[in-house]
């Protein structure tokens, strides 16, 4: 009997561990730095995200070069002059959902708070953002909207174009995670 239990638990543990991770490689993050002079609202549709439903740990990763701008020249300047995508190719968030429990996965919409470290342009900063989590039978949807300040991440805007780019950037996150 003991042995049977042991085997059962072992299998359930292996099974559970592979069931607990929800992952996406094509989530979207848009940022809006528009001013009256210039529309700047690029979107990145290749954001990776993983959520561990065991403990609420949450990780995002994206390539800066995957942000698509309306104007190709703006995209080039963004990558070459502002965020220096060759030096700092990726941006990440590593953190967890506060007060995690599996009741958040009951299919209803829940307001949650994510706390963790965000790294952009090689600068790491602690951040707390509000978001929404919702599940259906297969997927977990995460969405969030928050503001970041470019100067916090060492992104300098030259004087000449200072009026064209907003100093505070609104970030909108939409993820559709599937079981790994």
């Amino acid at each position: 009997m003991k042995q049977f239990l042991f085997i059962l638990f072992t299998f359930s543990a292996i099974f559970a561990s592979s069931q607990e991770k929800y992952i996406s490689r094509n989530g979207s993050i848009q940022f809006i730095a528009s001013t009256p002079l210039e529309t700047i609202d690029p979107i990145n549709n290749y954001v990776s995200c993983i959520l561990d439903t065991e403990n609420g740990h949450l990780v995002f990763q994206l390539k800066m070069i995957s942000f698509k701008f309306e104007k190709a020249l703006m995209e080039e300047h963004f990558n070459e002059k502002y965020v220096e995508s060759e030096k700092f190719p990726k941006a990440t968030f590593q953190g967890k959902i506060k007060d995690w429990n599996t009741k958040l996965l009951d299919g209803e919409k829940h307001m949650v708070i994510a706390i963790g470290n965000i790294t952009i342009h090689g600068v790491e900063k602690e951040i707390t953002v509000n978001g929404i989590i919702k599940t259906n039978k297969i997927n977990i949807f995460l969405s969030s909207s928050f503001d970041i300040t470019l100067a916090d991440f060492g992104v300098e805007i030259p004087k000449l174009v200072r009026d064209k780019i907003s100093k505070t950037v609104k970030v909108e996150v939409n993820m559709n995670l599937k079981q790994k």
Binding site: L5, F6, I23, H57, I65, E70, A72, E80, K81, P158
Partner: protein
């Protein structure tokens, strides 16, 4: 039973407690290509076409001037009193194909061109970006000088292969083997072009001084050099401001189309026979 529970507890823990770093490593996908971008700031190094393309649905309007020789003295304001100009319109059919139309005041040449990018540095770890450039030149003035005035004699052609590598974020180098074909060589008495076919090797590069300024240079040795022809050499800088790129330089070529500056350069750097010049480019977006 207790021992079993402890064992099981440990077992569960070992599976469930993935750290955030482990989670991050789940997301890494090393098979993706990292394509190189912004090898040069502009579609021209100075005179030579650079590897850069006009992007899809964008019109790149370039206006260029070459002034008189710097050694022409204060009475000509070191050449600034004289100048020739060129207007060119390049349109991006796709991100990899550009078509162009241009008119140069020097010998009143009209040219149409096409530039296509074949492969981008970084695609499957390929070390270079490669493009081909092809242009047809129509001399609206040559029949005045030619002994026989046939329409076909007014055409000439240049084909180039452009091979560039962005060595690091500041330094980019480029090779442009070029082939020129004249339907009628040298209708102009003051030129030394006698061959119908000319081969040359363009060598160019840029070094970024800061994020908005780079120093550029190019040298175009003619491979089957005739007596009297001069190799084009230019040095200058690119200044980028938002939607414009200003290119200011000194060059011994006054012609701004490939056939002209590769094969028909007259100025000598040695005696100050160089010209101040600039290109200003502005991109218009039709997205």
């Amino acid at each position: 039973m207790k021992r079993l529970l402890v064992f099981l507890g440990c077992f569960f823990l070992s599976f469930s407690s993935f750290s955030q770093d482990d989670l991050l490593s789940f997301l890494d996908n090393e098979n993706e290509d990292n394509l190189t971008f912004a090898t040069f700031k502009s579609t021209k190094i100075i005179n030579l076409q650079s590897i850069e393309q006009t992007n899809k649905k964008e019109l790149n309007f370039v206006i260029s001037h070459r002034f008189g020789t710097v050694n022409s003295g204060i009475e000509n304001l070191y050449g600034l009193d004289n100048g020739s100009m060129r207007m060119s319109f390049d349109y991006g059919l796709s991100d990899n194909v550009t078509v162009g139309l241009a008119r140069s005041s020097s010998q009143k040449v009209i040219d149409v061109s096409v530039k296509g990018r074949v492969i981008t540095q970084g695609r499957k770890n390929f070390p270079f970006t490669v493009a081909v450039y092809s242009a047809i030149y129509y001399d609206t003035l040559s029949s005045v000088w030619a002994s026989e005035s046939l329409l076909k004699n007014d055409f000439s052609f240049v084909n180039q292969i452009i091979i560039a590598r962005k060595i690091n974020s500041n330094l980019s180098l480029q090779l442009s083997p070029s082939f020129t074909h004249y339907n009628f060589p040298s209708p102009y008495p003051w030129q030394n072009v006698v061959n119908k076919r000319m081969y040359a090797l363009g060598i160019g590069g840029r070094y970024k001084v800061n994020r908005s300024v780079s120093v550029n240079s190019e040298w175009i040795p003619i491979l089957d050099k005739e007596e009297g022809t001069v190799n084009s050499f230019s040095v200058g800088c690119d200044i980028e401001t938002g939607g414009h790129v200003f290119q200011l330089f000194l060059t011994n070529s006054t012609k701004m189309y490939e056939r002209g500056f590769i094969n028909e350069t007259l100025g000598e750097w040695g005696d100050g026979g160089v010209h101040f010049g600039f290109n200003i480019s502005r991109v218009f977006n039709f997205n």
